[in-house]
Symmetry: C2
Subunit: 277 residues, 2 copies
Amino acid sequence: MIQSKELQGAAVGVFDSGVGGLTVAREIMRQIPNEKIVYFGDTARVPYGSKSQDTVTRYSRQIVRFLRTQDVKAIVVACNTASAYALDSLEKEIDIPIIGVVKPGARVAAEVTRNGKIGVIGTEGTIGSQIYTDFIHNINPDAKVTGKACPLFVPLVEEGLLQDPVTDEIASRYLTELIDIGIDTLILGCTHYPLIRSTVGRIMGEEVTLVNPAYETAAELKKLLTDCNLLNPQAPALGDNKYKFYVSDGAEKFKRFANSIIKYGILSAKTIQIEEY
Amino acid sequence: MIQSKELQGAAVGVFDSGVGGLTVAREIMRQIPNEKIVYFGDTARVPYGSKSQDTVTRYSRQIVRFLRTQDVKAIVVACNTASAYALDSLEKEIDIPIIGVVKPGARVAAEVTRNGKIGVIGTEGTIGSQIYTDFIHNINPDAKVTGKACPLFVPLVEEGLLQDPVTDEIASRYLTELIDIGIDTLILGCTHYPLIRSTVGRIMGEEVTLVNPAYETAAELKKLLTDCNLLNPQAPALGDNKYKFYVSDGAEKFKRFANSIIKYGILSAKTIQIEEY
């Protein structure tokens, strides 16, 4: 497939309900550093995890329309809930590659489990949708998949309690059930969770493999762009705005949080009215 | 002022970012049981507490437009953040009485304090706006008002951890500063907080008076309706739909939570698309 240099040089669109998807953007920056990124965080309507499929799909459609105005060459749905609820609809509606974070995470989990017992932690929406279970069963119909919603993890992370006895206590409660079942693989099925990976890992023990869909998604994006001949062959010119960040509310607050996660220097974040798209 | 029976029989509109305002609706039901209520909870965009003034004001305007379609005779902004950020604008834009929860709570706190040291707990938005401080200073310029944002209280309440060691621990951390200052009066400046009133009360000690703006707001509403001759002189007819509940997302989930707070039996909750107003 021959693609124009202009198309190869276009940005990848990445979106999330808020700041969580920055863990995915960070992996893309690490694994395919030539790529430009336009990131959108829906901070005016965050969180998605407790909202319905209809609402999350409507919001996701608006965001895709916004990202298309930025001439992106591909889109990454860097939010587990939106991937679970909206990706199927979005895929049918657009003519550029779009991937979510669920399938890459599910595939790796299905591959690395030894005893076939896989745990998934995520928001109410992601867990309730059973989407990780469905994808894993497509690959390994015998796998026993147990989901556990962990609604307090996102607020605890956003409050900055990454290493804290309270987070330990809450994590222990949420994870006991998965330990008792004897899972050997645990999917961190929400983009905030890699930020408390060490807590989760300590509680689960060394024998349990933690799967971070952010890492797998960046790897899948690299493969997809390569297959479609859409990889940017060269780094953007100096002075070119490589990473652009948009939010629907609170650009300054977003910038502070983002700069604590991403060490590449976020020059600016702009607020847009996402309902208008 | 002479008012028609039709106007007196109209409902009071009550709105909140989600379920929290039900503690205000509950007080209205208790204190003025003849009044019909149309409640709107913005569950598609909840929470407001971490969002900007512009966004909260835009959302509040849409909700007021929706409530007007229900022919309400007065509106209660049953959300501290919306009261803090949007009430000033809303008051100028409509021609029916509208009250928030901040002023009634501030007035009572200014009245009951003995040592002039008042604490306020609330969302980031409410505390950052300094609105309680401003209202209290209007009444008592010498009062020393200390605000403390408690972002984890809402998720802890929504997770149902009303009586729990984790909630105790988090509350102790948030409240230490206020204990050290020696406040004798504490405003529960977020509609969720009355649900953990006993935890907060135990930590603060018996000497500290807890002010619940929900109670004061219902009392102020009763006075306002009386002054404007808008009180409903008789109970709505049996079979009349006395309490109506609308949300922007997840009506079933809202109903479950609402029925755990309000014991009057919530017959139905409907979902509407609030962005269209």
